[in-house]
């Protein structure tokens, strides 16, 4: 079971955390909502919960609660630039269908 970051994503995250001035890492999660049933959450983590799964990817700590991990296993988080827009993108092998917006998915 693992979740990884691309090197570019890791660099951006490390940079954001440094500028933000605090945070132990990045918390990824899944919650039920959105047009395709599930939605990703992407947040700064200020503390580690007892049952968190921890992954180290290019020096950035990624925290995922056990329930979310089932949906995220094998996911790679990338940082991409599309025209003027830039941000994070989930490459998740588990998904069966995805809402056009990219924020919401089904498994």
């Amino acid at each position: 079971m693992a979740v990884t970051l691309t090197e570019r994503a890791a660099q951006h995250i490390a940079n954001f955390i440094a500028k933000r001035g605090k945070g132990v890492g990045l918390r990824l999660g899944v919650r039920t909502s959105g047009c395709s049933g599930m939605a990703y959450t992407l947040e700064f983590a200020d503390e580690i919960a007892g049952d968190d799964n921890q992954f180290d990817s290019h020096g950035v700590k990624v925290l995922i609660d056990p329930k979310s991990l089932a949906y995220l296993d094998g996911t790679e988080l990338d940082y991409v630039r599309e025209g003027l827009n830039e941000g994070f993108k989930f490459n998740n092998p588990n998904i069966k269908n995805q809402c056009g917006c990219g924020e919401s998915f089904g498994v």
């Binding site: 951006h12 500028k19 918390r27 047009c35 003027l84 830039e86 809402c99 990219g102 924020e103």
Partner: protein, 621 residues
């Protein structure tokens, strides 16, 4: 497809619920747009990676427009239709801009604001600014991948209501929802996180391309109050370029250059200035149109010397602003540097020495205002948790209305944080009064004549009632941009009237400071004047009531009693002419005592009349 940003812990938005908000620095020379991405405020660049958008709009004959660099490039070719510095005309009449000379535009005097004649028709400064805002909005929506919920737009601290309203109108024309107009120095302070810093006095030193502004801010309980502003609207980085240019002419013995050569040397001068920020010396080289070569060495020492008087020209307004705020340099907790020209080392040094502390300069001085506006926009759009402090502005002068005798009743007091709404109940002064005049005033003094009149309106259609029976609720509401609306409603009948205070009534900070000073100097006089007017109003009301009673029930009195009352009335009338509040009070009390038994008899009579023809049981039930 949307790309995700990192949220604060526990604040992930539901899909499609991201609230995109931007901060816009709508500048005289350049404009910028910024947003908060993954908790960090960043300026949004254009397709070519440029952050600045020159605040230049060119109107073409076919009705289309060019904005930014494209328009700037055509400035010398098509000067009449290429509008620069529209910000200087916002909310201004022809007389206001008469001082700005050498403008290539054909002005049209329109009520309220000047208009510019272009090949595409007459355009107002609001429309020009809207074009700039539209370009920034398009850039933001492309960069963020969605529609904006709103924007915070910055304005100079000294902008009056008319200029602020014009800025809001421009935003509306550009299809932007204005979350808030924010003072530029306040935005800069927010960018440095000073709103979460220690309370105290902060100075914002803003030296742009063509203007210099200094603002003294006081932070207390999360609120920035602008205490004083000063500056020089014709001093900026361009003047430093010009000094270098003149120095080059001196060194080389050149004179009477063609326009083209002048432009070339000015460009070289600007490059030299920028070079000297990082290097101790720089070489200025150019080949003029006649083939003559220019090659001189400019050291930062010489640069400092030839621009010393310019640097000092910024310190004089700074000193003055501090004095206006009754502060010394030792009171200043921090100094924020804004504007590209503050990169010059001699400016940094001079400001550091003046205040005896290192100025804050680690953010890009060109971007700091937009970055602060973006942080504020992010909070206002609801993207931060509730306990985050919301930056608030305050009302600089109390707002109130005129009551009987020309006295001011303050409804919203000075330094209240906005937005704010306050209501107060007033009543009629005379029996059967069917209308009430509401006179809205601004100021700290006790008498209407010493305050500034903002608006007047009438509440009509109050049903005739005894004096004091009507209940008129007057509500003052100031929105987040400092614009006031006043409404009045008589509660028994429901009649209503209201007014939006016309923005042309704005006051400059200087006038506000003068009004505050006057109120402090006249505090004692005002108190006396107020108590005199109050007694006069009271005395007048008693006289009226007694006169009405005499007319109605005069036969209840014998001649001696009546004579005594009339004597006391005359005495009260005499004191009302004078200016001794105590004398009026005494005379009024004397009249009250003289009418006590008369009042008792009237009461008995009216009770008898009310009871006549009724049985006891009827009254008990």
């Amino acid at each position: 497809m949307a790309l995700l940003q990192i949220a604060e812990p526990g604040l992930s938005a539901a899909p499609h619920q991201h609230r995109l908000a931007v901060g816009i620095d709508l500048g005289t020379t350049n404009s910028l747009v910024a947003t908060v991405r993954s908790s960090i405020s960043v300026v949004l660049n254009d397709e070519d990676g440029r952050a600045l958008l020159p605040s230049v709009v060119r109107y073409l004959a076919d009705g289309t427009t060019e904005v930014g660099y494209a328009a700037q490039a055509m400035q010398s070719v098509d000067p009449h239709n290429t509008v620069v510095s529209a910000k200087r005309f916002m909310g201004r009449g022809v007389s206001d801009i008469a001082a700005i000379v050498n403008l290539p535009y054909q002005f049209v005097d329109a009520p309220g604001m000047v208009q510019l004649k272009t090949v595409a028709g007459v355009k107002s400064p609001v429309e020009v600014s809207a074009e700039i805002l539209k370009a920034l909005r398009a850039r933001a929506e492309k960069s963020l991948g969605g529609e904006l919920v709103g924007a915070v737009i910055t304005v100079p601290a000294y902008f009056d209501d008319a200029q602020r309203q014009a800025t809001k109108d421009a935003a509306r024309l550009a299809g932007l929802n204005v979350l808030r107009l924010l003072n530029e120095p306040t935005a800069a302070a927010v960018a440095y996180g000073l709103d979460n810093a220690a309370e105290g006095i902060y100075v914002v030193y803003d030296l742009g391309g063509g203007t210099f502004d200094v603002s003294i801010l006081r932070l207390s309980r999360g609120v920035f109050e602008v205490m004083a502003t000063n500056g020089d609207s014709a001093l900026g980085g361009d003047d430093f370029d010009h000094r270098i240019y003149c120095w080059v002419l001196e060194q080389t013995g050149l004179f009477a250059l063609s326009a083209q050569d002048t432009r070339l040397l000015l460009t070289r001068a600007r490059e030299a200035k920028e070079e000297l920020t990082f290097h101790p010396e720089t070489r200025i080289t150019a080949v003029l149109s006649n083939g003559q070569a220019v090659d001189v060495l400019l050291t930062s020492k010489i640069f400092s010397e030839i621009t010393l008087s310019l640097v000092n020209k910024t310190l004089a307004p700074t000193r003055k602003a501090l004095r206006d705020a009754n502060l010394g340099v030792e009171d200043v907790k921090g100094v924020v540097m804004v504007g590209g020209a503050t990169r010059m080392p001699q400016i940094q040094r001079a400001v550091g020495e003046f205040f005896g502390q290192e100025p804050l300069n680690n953010l890009d001085p060109d971007k700091v205002v937009a970055l602060g506006a973006a942080i504020q926009a992010n909070v206002l759009a609801g993207n931060r948790s509730g306990d985050e402090w919301l930056l608030l502005d305050v009302i600089p002068l109390s707002l109130g209305l005129e009551t009987m005798g020309g006295l001011v009743e303050k409804v919203i007091t000075r330094n209240s944080t906005i937005p704010v709404a306050r209501a107060q109940e007033f009543t009629t002064y005379k029996d059967g009064q069917t209308a009430m005049s509401i006179h809205v005033v601004q100021g700290e003094r006790e008498l209407v004549s010493d305050c500034r009149s903002l608006a007047k309106f009438e509440l009509r259609g109050i049903p005739p009632m005894a004096a004091g029976a009507a209940r008129v609720r007057v509500t003052f509401q100031v929105d987040a941009d400092g614009l006031l609306s006043v409404s009045a409603r008589e509660k028994n009948s429901g009649v209503e009237a209201s007014v939006m205070v016309k923005p042309s009534y704005g006051l400059s900070d200087g006038e506000i400071a003068d009004m505050l000073k006057a109120s402090q100097q006249h505090a004692h006089d005002d108190m006396t004047a107020r108590s005199l007017r109050e007694q006069q109003v009271d005395g007048g009301r008693i006289l009226e009531a007694v006169a009405a009673a005499l007319a109605e029930d005069g036969e209840l009195l014998n001649d001696a009693e009546r004579g005594k009352i009339e004597e006391r009335m005359a005495a009260l009338r005499v004191t009302l002419e004078g200016n001794a509040p105590q004398a009026i009070k005494n005379a009024a009390e004397a009249l009250n005592r003289a009418t006590e038994s008369f009042a008792g008899r009237r009461m008995n009579r009216s009770v008898q009349q009310a009871l006549a023809g009724h049985k006891l049981e009827e009254l008990e039930s």
